[in-house]
Amino acid sequence: MIYPIISYSLVFILVGGVQAALPAYGGRTIFFSVTVPERFRETAEARSILRGFRRLILLWTIAAEALALATIYTGVPWFLLAAILVVGAGTVGAYARARKQTRQFSVAPSAERTASLAAQSDGLRGSYFILAAAAAPFIAAALFAGSRWDQISDTVALSTAFGVSGSVDVVLLLLALAILHGSRRGSPMRSVNLTVLVAFMLVNSVAPATFIALQWMKPSEQFWGQAFSFGELLFLAGMIVWGLRKGSQLRHSRDTTPDECWKLGQFYYNPQDPALLVEHRIGLGYSPNFARPLSWIAITALFVLPVLAIVCLVIANM
């Protein structure tokens, strides 16, 4: 039990650190998902809003760490669930507060939109090849590790625990296809997002298979399990940092989505926009367009139903 909790504890620190750093990695004219004048970030008001946001993130991260510690000392797993909720809700709340403070300085986003008139080219030549190249070892390793799942000890946590069982792997693959087909082309962030996603796919598949092979060589050494989990975590953190840095170099004031469509600053709802996925205004990744029914179907199928199944299972075993 202790190793997964330590892993969660590391994840809380990682999430807190990333959240605190994120606002610095937005476009020049986007601040907490609000369209602002070009040099707004350098003003005293912007710095004050950012400081307030980071203080809240620090507070919620400390609270989550305390709850994770309580899980270790009391053995009550609900504390861990509470820690996850505290981090999730706290982050969303802190962001929403900062966004509300920023909105008084907002300006209208550009009404100009550009697009390529080419049918195929979107700056991602070979994107299907890259995906296939990532998917092949990913499927092979998943099958390999899945067939030897009982040999993975509980010293290996995080992505291994989520990775090969099938659910998250499918999510990543579907997400890659949804980005290719349902998001806007032409953004320089598109290839960065896909590269990070492919790296996640590879780590979530090849890494557990490698670990199993290592275990065959040194079956009794728990040290390798911990070192392996830490290495994976470090690699994923490195990929996120690379993506954020790359994004801050590439991202310009191209975001033309209306401010009012970003609910709580993080959830995109625009019935006028046919895109299924839109790039986050800061950091990496995409937000589903919650105005599209397909987004709700995908979210229900991939997240809500598995969570409901787990809840039902827990209640049935109580």
């Binding site: 008139l117 926009d273 046919p274």
Partner: protein, 131 residues
Amino acid sequence: MPASPQIRIDLASATPVYRQIVDQVRTRTVEGVLRAGDVLPSVRRLAIDLGIHFNTVAEAYRTLADEGWIEVAHGRPARVCNRNMPAPPEAAEVENFRQRLRHLIAEMRAQGLSPARISRELLALAEGLKR
């Protein structure tokens, strides 16, 4: 690799968005940037890229097809046509085009462009027609 032709629309413009798409695809075709046989993005693809409704793009493609610039068929991508040159317009229609050019030139002058600059722009466009 040559840069792919781009389209730029302005949602704040008084000109309807579908008309902006029609005008720009037509201009790119006349200028030779888009050639006969070139495949255009699907209605869905262009609507997503521009963040506008599917129907707006579909209406623009229908108008372009009616004017003979592109061919659209169900289940196949829209392609730029090898458009037959229509018969020269009547004198009254030529006069109508001249009037529109005069209005445009007046608008350019109102925006601060000098007569010399306007003349250079028109000459450059006329040279482009010879290619």
